[in-house]
């Protein structure tokens, strides 16, 4: 009985496992793609198209430090920002893709 149950559910588990692996991979790729965008020096504003440099003088909202560096990672506490304002139109530019 137990064997029969195992034989019946195994393909289901396998299918689910395959599903989890595939979606996880795709999600990972999607998010990695979002992170890879940050390898560039500037991000275009989704509204006005202004190229906003990622490196500059920033103030960390977590530790209040003012630092010279990349916007997505505080040089002091390592906290990551999820968005920053376009320097031309002020709209928020996302730094991470939603999971």
């Amino acid at each position: 009985m137990r064997l029969t149950l195992a034989l019946v559910t195994l393909p289901l588990f396998a299918a689910y496992g395959a599903y989890v692996l595939v979606t996880g991979y795709l999600r990972g790729m999607w998010r990695a793609g979002g992170r890879l965008r940050l390898l560039a020096l500037a991000l275009p504003c989704p509204s006005c198209g202004e190229a906003n440099p990622l490196d500059g003088r920033w103030k960390c909202r977590s530790c209040s430090a003012v630092y010279h560096g990349a916007v997505f990672e505080c040089g002091f506490c390592g906290a990551g920002a999820s968005f920053f304002a376009c320097r031309r139109c002020g709209i928020s530019i996302p730094l991470r893709r939603p999971s």
């Binding site: 390898l39 490196d55 500059g56 630092y67 010279h68 990349a70 990672e73 990551g80």
Partner: protein
């Protein structure tokens, strides 16, 4: 550090260095904006030292020597600042520069005698530096009009014919000046005054005869028997007789008030009038400072002078040789002729430059000018090419002079305040500069040349080279008093006596020939004549 930061550092180098470099580039871009303004101001106000350039002072903000070509000073200028802030000094500096660059035609109208005194020293100093022949030439061009002096006075018979001015309009202007002395002159009194002045003008008599003509209408009747328009003389005489005694007495008292000083009587009773066109072409220093209690006379004389000068300016040919007209204490001067004179000044500003006359007006503020004419301050701001603002109440009207660079740092923060950095916004910077304008120390000003479209530059005015000795100034005064445009007091006394004799001869009628009503006025008029 995350893998992303490591990857970016590997790809592009450290982010912090890149950020710092970007910020420095941004700051440099702003710095370029500020230095661009400085560069353009420097081009305008800091030409290299050379003959024909006039030193103005030192730019406080950028620490360079400010200097302009004399040719650029051939412009209308407005100098604003309170008493003692350095307006006259700066004007003397400009005129000294113009003298040094060969300009030999300027007129200074000074109701306080202060600028004239300064200018005497400046001209004497300039003359002392010249070769003997050129010094003689310069001193020969200097004429000192001291309207209340005791040595020599200008011939100011304002009823002498003026070329290009018809007699009616001439008489009208003179009558207006006398009736503007006080606000309570009625319309009928104005009309009588005009008629009598016109009669005197047509008869070739000076304005000093005005009280006599008002007192004794017989004078006009007798003039009708001699020459000139007999109808006008008779009509005026009969109108005078018909008018109420009080009205005529009111006019007489005003005329006598203007003529109560001997110097004024002598100048106005001269046998001719100076050519104001020639006055503009010389180095003319006009001292209008009245003795104690004679401010009203000074006002009328200012009005008469202005009338002559403005007519001379209108008469000049377009593109005539450049001359400079400096009006110290412009509101005091304008108050003499009231709103009418202010209106004529407005017209003149529009006209003067094409006639080769550059007007420099000095004033403590524009609000005192607005009292005379509400539109004149705007005309001054618009038409004046050079504007020098000494310490003065700053409002939006002077913002065009303030050098807004966008590079003035915000104030240092206090330890308990939130961090702030960078530069002041435009509006905050304008407020800051307005505050500075109100607190400028003496001899510092903002100088702007409106022709360039640039704001002003803050200057500490240069030092005047007042090297003339007392002897040199005395010799200048001696030469200026001997100028052919001036007449000695004995000469003027002779002219006044000749006029008095002429009037006495006209009134010399036996009592039996006079109507009853004429006898007393004629006796009074004869008694007042200054003969012998």
């Amino acid at each position: 550090m995350s893998w992303l930061s490591k990857a970016r550092a590997a790809l592009h180098g450290p982010a912090s260095r890149r950020a710092a470099d970007g910020e420095a580039a941004e700051l440099a871009r702003y710095a370029d904006k500020a230095s661009e303004l400085e560069r353009r101001l420097r081009e305008q106000f800091a030409v290299p030292s050379a003959p024909g350039t006039v030193p103005l002072g030192r730019a406080r903000e950028w620490n360079w020597e400010a200097r302009m070509p004399a040719s650029k000073l051939a412009a209308h200028a407005l100098i604003v600042g309170p008493s003692g802030s350095g307006k006259s000094y700066f004007t003397a500096l400009l005129l000294q520069g113009l003298l040094a660059s060969g300009v030999r035609s300027f007129t200074v109208l000074d109701p306080k005698a202060e600028t004239v005194e300064l200018m005497k020293a400046v001209v004497a100093g300039a003359a002392a530096r010249l070769a003997p022949e050129r010094r003689r030439q310069l001193l020969g061009r200097v004429v000192l009009f001291d309207l209340f002096g005791t040595r020599a006075l200008p011939r100011l018979n304002v009823l002498a014919p003026v070329q290009g001015l018809d007699e009616e309009s001439h008489a009208f202007q003179i009558a207006l000046l006398f009736s503007d002395m006080s606000a309570d002159v009625g319309v009928r009194q104005e009309a009588i005054l005009y008629l009598v002045v016109l009669c005197l003008l047509k008869a070739g008599l000076p304005i000093t005869v005005l009280p006599t003509a008002l007192e004794a209408p017989l004078l006009l009747e007798r003039l009708a028997l001699r020459a000139g328009p007999a109808d006008l003389f008779r009509t005026t005489a009969s109108r005078l007789k018909k008018e109420g005694r009080e009205r005529i007495l009111g006019l007489m008292s005003r005329a006598e008030r203007v003529l109560r000083l001997r110097a004024t009587r002598l100048a106005l009773g001269a046998d001719g009038c100076i050519d104001f066109g020639e006055v503009l072409d010389l180095v003319s220093l006009v001292n209008l400072a009245p003795p104690q209690g004679a401010a009203d006379i000074s006002r009328v004389l200012s009005g008469l002078l202005w009338m002559g000068i403005s007519h001379a300016i209108r008469r000049r040919a377009n593109g005539a040789a450049r001359c400079h007209l400096v009006i110290d204490e412009a509101p005091t001067f304008l108050a003499a002729g009231g709103a009418r004179m202010a209106d004529s000044l407005e017209d003149l500003f529009r006209l003067a430059r094409s006639k080769g006359v550059n007007v420099t007006a000095l004033t403590q503020d524009l609000s005192s000018i607005a009292k005379v004419s509400s539109s004149l301050p705007e005309t001054l701001r618009t038409n004046m090419h050079l504007v020098a603002l000494f310490r003065c109440l700053a409002d939006a009207q002077w913002d065009f002079v303030l050098p807004v660079t966008g590079r003035r740092p915000k104030a240092e923060r206090a330890p308990w305040e939130e961090a702030r950095g960078g530069y002041l916004e435009r509006s905050a910077e304008v407020q800051l500069l307005r505050g500075e304008l109100q607190r400028l120390p003496d001899r510092e000003c903002y100088l702007a040349d409106r022709r360039t479209g640039l704001p002003g530059v803050r200057l500490r005015t240069a030092d005047l080279a007042l090297a003339a000795t007392r002897a040199e100034i005395a010799s200048l005064e001696e030469a200026a008093h001997r100028h052919p445009m001036l007449a000695s007091v004995p000469e003027l006394e002779r002219a006044a006596e000749a006029t008095a004799r002429r009037v006495a001869a006209l009134l010399d009628v036996g009592d039996h020939q006079l109507a009853e009503s004429d006898r007393a006025p004629v006796r009074r008029a004869r008694g007042k004549l200054d003969i012998g």
